[in-house]
């Protein structure tokens, strides 16, 4: 039976100092030690979590020789969607800040691991110990490296054309000022359940406006959308589409060249 079981959350600034999460798209990754369970999947995302946990453990103030042992759990504020598969992790945790004025003391991070809980949240779990009537272990530094396979498709491209022209979609289009235009969002595979949200922007919103976002319907690889009418003087607008899915930052661009008949 553990002497303590403490729970912390990286979103609470009284629990963690300088928590950071990096999500890195990778071309392939796997846990190679211990040898993994055979899987057809390879990771395409590396998640890196760092921070200093304000663990604030204290020894038994009434018993100098007693070693308190327990479990510390840190919620990393990253849940895996049903499209994501946990493929492995490599985690470190070290003593960060300790204090005592005694001779007989223990400060320990005996073991640490990152796991996926039943609610699909990632947790860092450490077994820790402390001994000494006046001993305090106030901080623990950590880094958790997690490999994930994300089966959601990638944003492949955004292509444009004048509305109603029947022309092929292209990475650039010539559109007369005052006319409408269309864009095509292409994915690397069918959009998952719930569709795939794509954020949109124009660097010339007055002349070539576009909606802030659109959604590629579930099961669809490619979808065509109508944009608002253009207006104003000749210009070149860069239209950018960005994958709004958690953990994704892929963006693709196309240009709309506005012209005015002489």
């Amino acid at each position: 039976m553990a002497d303590f079981e403490n729970t912390y959350d990286v979103t609470n600034d009284r629990d963690v100092a300088f928590p950071r999460t990096l999500e890195i798209g990778i071309t392939g990754g796997q846990q190679v030690f211990p040898p993994p369970t055979p899987s057809a999947l390879t990771a395409n995302n590396l998640l890196i979590f760092t921070g200093t946990l304000l663990v604030n453990l204290h020894g038994d103030s009434g018993n100098a020789s007693r070693v308190l042992r327990g479990i510390v759990k840190l919620r990393l504020n990253r849940s895996l969607s049903k499209n994501e598969t946990f493929l492995g992790s490599a985690t470190v945790a070290a003593l960060g800040s300790i204090h005592t004025d005694e001779e007989e003391v223990t400060f320990a991070v005996d073991d640490v691991e990152t796991i996926v809980a039943d609610d699909h949240e990632l947790w860092l779990v450490a077994h820790m110990a402390i001994q000494g009537e006046a001993a305090s272990l106030s901080r623990m530094a950590y880094q958790a490296n997690v490999l994930v396979h994300d089966s959601r498709p990638e944003l492949d491209s955004i292509l444009v054309r004048p509305a109603g022209s029947g022309a092929a979609f292209s990475s650039s289009a010539l559109v007369r000022s005052g006319d409408a235009w269309e864009y095509q969002i292409n994915l690397s595979g069918p959009a998952p359940d719930g569709g795939m949200l794509i954020l949109l922007s124009s660097d010339k919103p007055a002349e070539v406006p576009i909606a802030a976002a659109t959604e590629v319907p579930r099961g669809t690889v490619s979808a065509v959308f109508s944009a608002d009418r253009t207006s104003g003087s000749p210009t070149t607008a860069v239209i950018t589409a960005r994958d709004a899915s958690p953990g994704r930052s892929t963006s693709r661009s196309a240009t709309v060249n506005l012209f005015v008949l002489g």
């Binding site: 030690f33 470190v92 070290a94 003593l95 691991e113 001994q131």
Partner: protein, 167 residues
Amino acid sequence: MEEDFAFVRIMRDVDDVLRREVITPRALQIAVRDARQTFPPSQSNRLSAHLLIFTGTVVFGDDERDELNEVEEAEGILGNLANRTAAVRLRDPNGHHGPDRVTGSASFVAEASINNTNFDRYGIRVECAAVRANSDDAYLLSNVGANLEGELARMVYQANILETLGQ
């Protein structure tokens, strides 16, 4: 300052039979492109194909073990024979490609479990860490020590190694 890691060695293996030398050892292998060690500049001009991330918690002086070797190690760590070089065999999955496979590395170690028994002054040191590869495997080397009644019971590490795919 470059360390020579020349103290008496304490050998540890992430794959020891009893699973007591390193707690929760893990290794991740990640395919990369255009990866290199930029400081200090790597002497290797070979392209890196993999980033390997090794983590674990090294155990020193496990009280449950009674092998003479371990007792001596524990006494060395606990006593005034302060300096040791810990060598952790990492079980590199690409070790068979030879020592030239490593194109760069970045590693650290830190105290994970320390204690003192009955002396009001003591010292515990985890001084540096680096990766060295030879013909059979990659090793994480670290100069560690403790004196008087201080004990370094566990040390955590992360070794990040860039490697080529083969010869």
